[in-house]
Symmetry: C2
Subunit: 329 residues, 2 copies
């Protein structure tokens, strides 16, 4: 694990926007013993939070990480009330630049000046988000992965005006949340993860559009194939092994030429016609429709928990994050 | 699991070409009790096979799948000797069309007419491979994933002249090998898996070329992030859950627009300059150089075994393949 300066955990965390991502942030912090103030104007919020928190508690129990005492959860009536005493404010509003900028200005109006403001955006540039902020130095991106209460990765990205102190603080806070923060050093659209995800997503859409494969077939190739490799080693480490004793250099010299083969249709995006949307929806229904989304969540979480326990046994990858949490308690 | 017609397992399997892939095919068949004739002119072959077979035996023992009796392994002195009595001939030569075509013609010269001939190519088109064969109807692609003795997926692809009987036979044989074969119905360059892998690989190379991320950082984003999701659900099923109660249709309508954002540099390939090759090699060395490739293999295999056991416990994904093997014995 990278060494991250260990400051204090945030005493109080504010979550602004409680869809699937915001609610799961709340769950993670509560299970780490921090008090959470949550604000979302939607009437569905308490139900979403209850469900997500239920899933998270169950998952952490299976991990053997039930906290000695959970933090307290408060539904704030206004955004101002939610943020006023928070040390960390995690914005998880819809993925729209203007919406997020508006919310950030509202947050600034009521937050303590020392508060760290983090956005969960999966691809909007921090420099754009902060360009009208009064204290832009305290804005960072903290981009998590669904389900946030289980997946350890969070991408931390600063904008042109973000202070290095804010980056350090974010890294330290997220370690306290039981995560594996990665500082993305260069600010680019979509950061690192969504660059890679976008590439796969486009190619997968073409495979469906061209009627080469169904959603089920694509998923099967991943989960019975290279997905198993990537849960424990990434792309380069897997290929390093494939290079045999010659390692990465051998592999890359051998594999290099095929890069120019006309294998992919990556630049263009298939038109999202009604027909394509319907085809994907129908195929997904045939593939997974016999489970409700709630059931799929439970299956996913049980698998993630047990795979992470397996990795912990081997002191590797995501298992190390769990081990550190366990050692700490 | 898809239903695959269950014929008899092959009595004898010939492996032509015993690098990492061919040797691992041999190991898988031996552990399934089938006799293997192996041919590779390289003097390093016995050492590679010994090492790979050692890894495979250890992994299967940890899976609790040690066979009652292993098949016999014979190093053939000639290609002709290797293939003459084989029911399945698996070609695993270097990834070069002319080399493979030459080997296929050599195979045809000595094989029984009833033998199934499978190529391990990860992307060459079967129609091109078979275009000078005397009995092209018996050629299929059987594209496996490293480590072949553990990863269940194998893509089965037929060419213009492949008979449907050959496809069925290949599917049935690979189920006997303890795998999860997927019939890729449309013949395209790189099939399904390498389309997706190529997309990620190109994007990852750009991230390194542009000095946005190191190989370690990219791998971390994968293995602490979305790689964990993909080991048990694929792309679409994961996104279906992200869509909440609205499921896939909701997700895709919401996510659609960002497809046109200029996030990726996917068409162009970075020039594989000496500098880029060296940078990747150096970063990979810094990331994983403290382990030998042999050590990395053992770590990978231990993780794969334990993750698959975890999935078996939950009766899901790759774990189901293991469960079927266990139930059978």
């Amino acid at each position: 694990m990278d060494s991250v300066e260990h400051g204090s955990p945030p005493q109080q965390v504010a979550i602004i926007g409680a869809g699937v991502i915001g609610a799961a942030w709340a769950a993670r912090w509560l299970l780490r013993g921090c008090d959470v103030m949550l604000y979302d104007p939607s009437s569905e919020t308490p139900q979403i939070v209850d469900e997500v928190l239920g899933n998270a508690r169950y998952a952490w129990k299976r991990l053997g990480l039930t906290p000695q005492s959970e933090g307290s959860l408060t539904y704030a009536k206004t955004l101002a009330e939610a943020v006023q005493n928070a040390e960390l404010i995690q914005e998880s509003a819809p993925e729209d630049l203007q919406t997020k900028k508006f919310i950030l200005s509202e947050i600034e109006r009521s937050a303590n000046q020392g508060a760290l403001i983090a956005s969960s955006t999966s691809g909007l540039l921090p420099t754009k988000l902060q360009d009208e902020m009064q204290h832009p130095e305290r804005l960072v991106i903290g981009h998590p992965f669904n389900p946030v209460y289980l997946i350890p990765m969070v991408e931390v990205v600063g904008g042109k005006h973000t202070s290095s102190e804010s980056i350090s603080k974010a890294m330290s806070f997220y370690v306290h949340a039981g995560m594996k923060p990665l500082h993305v050093r260069v600010e680019i659209d979509a950061f690192i993860a969504d660059r890679l995800l976008e590439a796969v997503w486009r190619e997968a859409l073409w495979l469906v559009e061209d009627e080469i494969a169904t959603t089920q077939e694509i998923d099967d190739v991943i989960r019975f194939g290279f997905g198993l490799r990537w849960a424990q080693m990434g792309l380069f480490e897997s290929y390093r092994i494939a290079g045999g004793q010659g390692g990465m250099e051998h592999f890359i010299r051998q594999f290099g030429p095929s890069l120019d083969w006309p294998w992919s249709k990556l630049t263009n995006t298939p038109e999202m016609s009604e027909e394509l949307i319907q085809r994907i929806s129908d195929q997904s229904e045939a593939q997974s429709g016999h489970y409700s989304v709630r059931e799929l969540e439970k299956i996913r979480d049980a698998n993630l928990v047990d795979m992470m326990l397996a990795l912990e046994k081997n002191a590797w990858g995501a298992g190390l994050v769990i081990r550190e949490l366990r050692d700490e308690s």
